[in-house]
């Protein structure tokens, strides 16, 4: 292997030589630095190569030819090689990123930069305690120099705070190292291991001092104000170096020193790291300055990795994978984000909106943010999975809780930022953001590296991986083909969906098969709508593909990991889709928060279940023991966030209504079913769980009843068509949940049938409403009226949709009604049954308004020229209509396959089917309490309908047509629809009496929670008052507290 001393020689030699070059040769100057950085990277790359693919062995490089401890030795192992390579890559690309700056403005930075990275290499490689001190100081001085040389507005004061803090820390470290020498006679780290953990009180103090110094160097909360100021005050490219380069090296130093620390020290590091992770992210929520926000995030991530280093004994074999997964994500993403910040130049979160003028940069910005948020397919996702599982196996529940809360807070500000950047309307982007190639290359390489390690990293996981990558490849392909016109991409995706269905459906059975049909058919139906769009719809198709890929992977999943992977893919895809709506940013944000919170609960639930059973498949959920009710609750809440049970529903109305016209049916008709699928899997495996003798299933059944009543009540007072439909979904999902909680054959039959009919009805209605919107550009019902004249076909679709949905014979919705009564009766849930009847009644209250307000009544002036919706909008509706009619006429076609799937779980109490005398293979369903034949009902209803219609047409022939707007007040035409439209505020009178039922309790509750979280954050971050001296006081207090805790107390 190439001796690491070459790095030292090249770095120092060139830095010394550069002093000779005058101003005139500044070009040479930078070229030389660049070459040096390339050689660093090349040397360390050769090490990595030899360790990974050659047969290199860990080796020591003595200085002066004497063995340690008598001389300083550098150790080069695989770990060292990797970390050094990372740091050198950072150096190389930092130089490239700063190229223009170094070249034009400030060539003096260059030698300092070179020495800094040389020092970091040595910091990583050296095995001598005192030598670490020397290179710590070199790092500190070089950074101090870089910050100072860059003459930004607040750089000097920030750098000074940094210098003060790091000098104090170095002094502590120096004392520690020297005391180690006095108590052991050696400064060679490996000597200290050989002798076991160093013994004696003096040695204890010595080890404590050395390690606490490195911990302090890693900015533990709350002794880290100085670091935040530096992140904010320094040039973003330097902040990137601090966060990714220096942070990585420092973490490695800590890792190196862990071998001399005892278990108690390890515990302290863990606690310090986790508190830092939690609080940094928490305080970050209130932060509005982008660089400082990245600083909070950096400190948080470093804290997490520090904790992982402290927990390496707990984590066992997976330690390296977990640490590297999170470190790599942090490394690439944080450097990339700081660099993007450098290009953007502004310091407000909103100023990043200029990225919209550079789609590629925006994409990479998204990649970085989602990698930090630990979404698949990034390394942090896999690492976090393994971390939570390992901690759960070790029963470290407190640590899990801290990590989950920290992750959640982190996602809050990262995703909010993403939303602001992509969608915030207050910032208008007029000019194209100027960028140059030397800045783009580093960012692109780092983004690509994240994707690469995301793919590569999973092979090191703890679980057997069987992910299906085909759908994800489709996503990537659509990104590449994004330049094509809409209709081409639409066709491609439809064909791909159908083809994939053709391949995958035969492999699926029972519920997975049923849900796969829903997802695939749903994709097909909703995509047809897409042909009505012109232009390119940039970015739309990859996102749609991503969501559907997640959904289809979800039903393909046979183990916990694949399931969770798919769940997160789906969540991310649907979040992006919702975010595309014009005013959807806050709604998409709250959707993401609930989904992510739910996902964390699912992750923790899975981990707990695994720790009891040791299984990675769904069989893990068949666990028994004290933990099982807890797991049940966590998973149930996790899935219920997706199905928007009452209390967890507040994201749904906004998200579904503000989404684009063809996205609404996707997220409402199809996406919600993912939560149902999760509940299905959960209930199937865990069944009834009891807390203090209370059956959780009964609790959930009440939740379901309240959800459906609440959802319908809220739907009835909406004036916005899509919001109405959205609340209606809340209610209907309540009914589906209710069916599931019955835990009986009929109950599940009801639920699955409900899933399918809800899918059909909601897709139909959202598409119809989307058609109306495409013509009127309005969703507020009372501003419309009389559309039946202009859009008769749409009217018919809406009519059929609401009839089917309200559960009136003859349409398929009635099947649900009929089943629910049967199921309730056979289960004996009478009280809940009453609630469901009530909900059914309320459903009428809102459903008829969808016809009444926009379609009936007088045609408004401004709608006179409106045309029928276009063919591509109507086509999917026609198909759905046909399916609904088919199912209505022959419900057996729908119910019998479901029944057979349900029958495998609940063998008794199902329906029996009997051939009838009617044609088309019509069959009669027979339950305990009665029978029902859809065809029969259909035929009879049709006859009655035809008779009545004929009769009415007969007598209406003589009716006189009344012209519109005969009502003119004082020769003035009323212009405000609010005062003249009967449909406006239809239930105003009842609201006085029962208005409390629709009070926004859940919204208020969550607002209250978020206010509390934010105000606590605001209070705590007051400690960072900007005074360097106060920061030092924090540092000293932190040090002293740790000192007395670990050295025998006061």
């Amino acid at each position: 292997m190439v001796s690491p001393y070459y790095i030292l020689t090249i770095g120092l030699g060139l830095a010394f030589l550069l002093g000779l070059l005058g101003k005139k040769l500044s070009k040479v100057n930078i070229a030389v630095i660049m070459l040096a950085m390339i050689s660093f990277a090349a040397i360390s790359a050769s090490w990595v190569w030899q360790f990974a693919f050659g047969n290199a062995e860990e080796s020591l490089f003595f200085s002066a030819g004497f063995e340690p401890p008598f001389s300083i030795a550098l150790k080069l192992g695989f770990q060292e090689a990797i970390i050094a390579f990372m740091v050198n890559i950072m150096g190389l690309f930092s130089t490239l990123f700063l190229w223009k700056k170094l070249h034009k403005e400030n060539d003096k930075l260059a030698p300092v930069l070179l020495v800094l990275f040389m020092g970091l290499n040595m910091l990583i490689l050296t095995r001598d305690l005192f030598n670490i001190f020397v290179f710590l100081e070199i790092t500190a001085i070089a950074l101090g120099g870089l910050i100072l040389l860059d003459e930004r507005k607040h750089a000097a004061s920030a750098g000074f705070k940094y210098l003060l803090a790091s000098s104090l820390i170095s002094a502590v470290y120096l004392l520690g190292a020297v005391l180690v020498y006095f108590s052991t006679g050696s400064l060679y780290i490996d000597d200290l291991i050989l002798g076991g953990p160093v013994a004696g009180p003096m040695a204890g103090i010595a080890v404590f001092l050395t390690i606490i110094a490195i911990v302090l160097e890693l900015k533990p909360f709350p002794a880290n104000g100085w670091a935040l100021d530096v992140y904010q005050g320094a040039h973003p490219a330097i902040a990137a170096i601090i966060s990714a380069g220096v942070g990585t090296a420092m973490l490695f130093v800590l890792h190196k020193l862990m071998i001399i620390s005892g278990p108690m020290m390890a515990q302290m590091i863990t606690v310090a790291g986790l508190l830092t992770f939690l609080f940094s992210n928490w305080l970050g929520i209130s932060q509005r300055d982008s660089n400082r926000l990245l600083g909070y995030s950096s400190i948080g991530q470093l804290g997490l990795i520090m904790a992982i280093i402290g927990m390496q004994d707990i984590l066992g074999d997976q330690f390296a994978f977990i640490a590297m997964g999170i470190l790599l994500s942090h490394f690439f993403a944080k450097a990339g984000l700081f660099w993007i910040s450098g290009i953007v130049g502004g310091s407000k979160l909103e100023s990043f909106a200029v990225l919209r003028s550079r789609p590629l940069l925006l994409l990479m910005f998204g990649i970085f943010l989602f990698a930090l948020s630990a979404f698949p397919p990034f390394p942090s996702f896999y690492a976090k999975w393994d971390l939570i599982f390992a901690l759960s196996d070790a029963k470290q529940y407190l640590f899990i809780t801290l990590i989950l809360f920290g992750s959640f807070f982190e996602v809050v500000y990262l995703i909010r930022w993403f939303g602001i950047v992509v969608k915030n309307t207050s910032e208008e982007v007029k000019e194209k953001l100027p960028v140059n190639i030397t800045q783009i290359i580093p960012i692109s390489v780092f983004a690509a590296a994240l994707l690469f390690f995301g793919y590569y990293g999973q092979h090191f996981m703890n679980v057997p991986i069987n992910l299906n990558y085909i759908p994800l490849i489709a996503v990537a392909a659509l990104w590449i083909l994004d330049f094509l016109p809409t209709w081409v991409k639409n066709t491609l995706l439809i064909v791909a969906t159908l083809f994939y269905g053709y391949i995958i459906l035969p492999q699926l059975h029972d519920f997975a098969f049923i849900f796969a049909i829903i997802f695939l058919l749903g994709a097909f139906l909703t995509l047809l709508f897409g042909y009505s769009y012109k232009g390119k719809r940039p970015g739309f198709y990859p996102l749609v593909a991503m969501m559907f890929a997640g959904l289809i992977l979800l039903v393909e999943a046979k183990d916990l990991f694949s399931f969770f992977f798919a769940w997160e893919i789906m969540t991310a895809g649907s979040y992006f889709l919702i975010l595309r709506g014009k005013k959807s940013q806050p709604h998409a944000f709250s959707y993401m928060l609930f989904s992510f919170g739910g996902a964390l609960l699912i992750l923790a639930g899975f981990a707990l279940a695994h720790s009891v059973t040791g299984s990675y498949t769904f069989d893990a959920l068949t666990m028994v023991g004290a933990l099982s009710p807890l797991v049940f609750i966590m998973l149930a809440i996790g899935f219920l966030t997706k199905t928007a049970a009452i209390g967890l529903h507040i994201w749904l109305p906004g998200a579904h209504s503000e989404a684009e016209s063809d996205v609404s049916p996707m997220v409402s008709g199809i996406l919600l079913k993912a939560g149902v699928y999760g509940l299905l899997i959960l209930f199937m495996r865990m069944g009834h769980q009891f807390v203090l003798g209370l059956d959780l299933m009964v609790v959930l059944s009440w939740v379901a009843v309240i959800t459906s009543i609440g959802g319908y009540l809220l739907a009835s007072v909406q004036e916005d068509m899509k919001r109405l439909l959205a609340y209606s979904s809340v209610g209907q999902l309540g009914i589906i949940l209710f069916g599931l909680t019955l835990m009986s054959n009929l109950g599940w039959l009801l639920a699955i049938a409900g899933v399918i009919t809800h899918f059909l009805n909601k897709t139909l209605l959202f598409q119809a409403v989307g058609g109306v919107y495409s013509r009127t550009h309005d969703r507020t019902m009372y501003r419309m009226g009389g559309l039946i004249h202009r859009m008769p076909i749409t009217f018919i679709f809406v009519l059929i949709g609401i009839i089917s949905m309200s559960g009136v014979p003859p349409l398929v919705g009635f099947a649900g009604k009929w089943l629910s009564f049967n199921a309730v009766l056979s289960k004996g849930y009478y009280l809940q049954g009453v609630g469901m009847v009530l909900a059914g009644a309320i459903a009428f209250l809102y459903l008829f308004r969808l016809i009444h307000v926009p379609f009936l009544g007088q045609l408004k002036d401004h709608l006179r020229k409106v045309k029928e919706a276009s063919f591509w909008i109507l086509l999917p509706q026609i198909i759905i209509l046909m399916i609904i009619m088919a199912f209505s006429a022959l419900p057996g076609v729908l119910l019998e396959p479901i029944g057979s799937a349900v029958g495998k779980i609940f063998p008794t109490g199902g329906l029996t089917w009997q051939d009838s005398f009617l044609p088309f293979g019509s069959r009669t369903a027979i339950s305990e309490y009665g029978y029902w034949n859809g065809t029969y009902v259909m035929v009879i209803t049709m006859i009655i309908f035809a008779v009545l219609l004929g009769f009415q047409m007969l007598i209406q022939r003589r009716n006189k047509k009344v012209g519109q707007f005969n009502i003119v007040y004082s020769a003035e035409r009323p212009s405000t629809p609010e005062t003249t439209h009967a449909g406006y505020h239809f239930y105003a009178h009842y609201q006085k009496a029962v208005g409390f039922l629709i009070a926004p309790l859940a919204t208020n509750f969550w607002n209250w929670v978020s206010d509390i979280v934010q105000s606590i954050a605001n209070q705590i971050r007051r400690i960072y008052n900007g005074n360097g001296q106060v920061y030092l006081i924090h540092l000293v207090i932190y040090f002293l507290i740790c000192f007395f805790i670990f050295n025998g107390g006061l």
Partner: protein
């Protein structure tokens, strides 16, 4: 009370460090903070050298009574001296950089009061 050369020196070092820290945390003037820093550093250096001292021994230099043969019997430990030597030089470097920072900060705001440099916070 232990009364020997090394004990007195150790104690003085500790006191110097404490007094230095007092100045670092307490003085408002940036220059005085840096001065306190040098006091702190000096204390630390005294402490280190004192800890490495062996009573009655001389400097590890072959000269006069100290010969190659009896070096290990009569001379003190050379390592802490080497370390402190490094530490002093590094300390000088840090101090100089801090002073330039002070100059630069003064250039911007015309004051050396640390309380005035709180633009970055929260």
């Amino acid at each position: 009370m232990k009364l020997s050369v090394e004990h007195i020196a150790i104690l003085s070092g500790i006191l110097l460090m404490a007094i230095g820290l007092w100045g670092i945390l307490g003085r408002k003037n940036i220059l005085k903070m840096i001065i306190s820093f040098t006091v702190f550093d000096t204390g630390l250096n005294i402490l280190i050298v004192a800890l490495g001292y062996l009573p009655g021994r001389t400097a590890p230099i072959v000269d006069g009574p100290v010969t190659v043969e009896n070096l290990s019997q009569v001379a003190v430990d050379p390592v802490p001296q080497a370390l402190v030597l490094t530490a002093i030089v590094i300390g000088f470097g840090v101090t100089a950089l801090m002073l330039v920072y002070a100059l630069k900060m003064h250039e911007k705001k015309k004051t050396l009061d640390i309380n005035e440099y709180t633009d970055l916070k929260w």
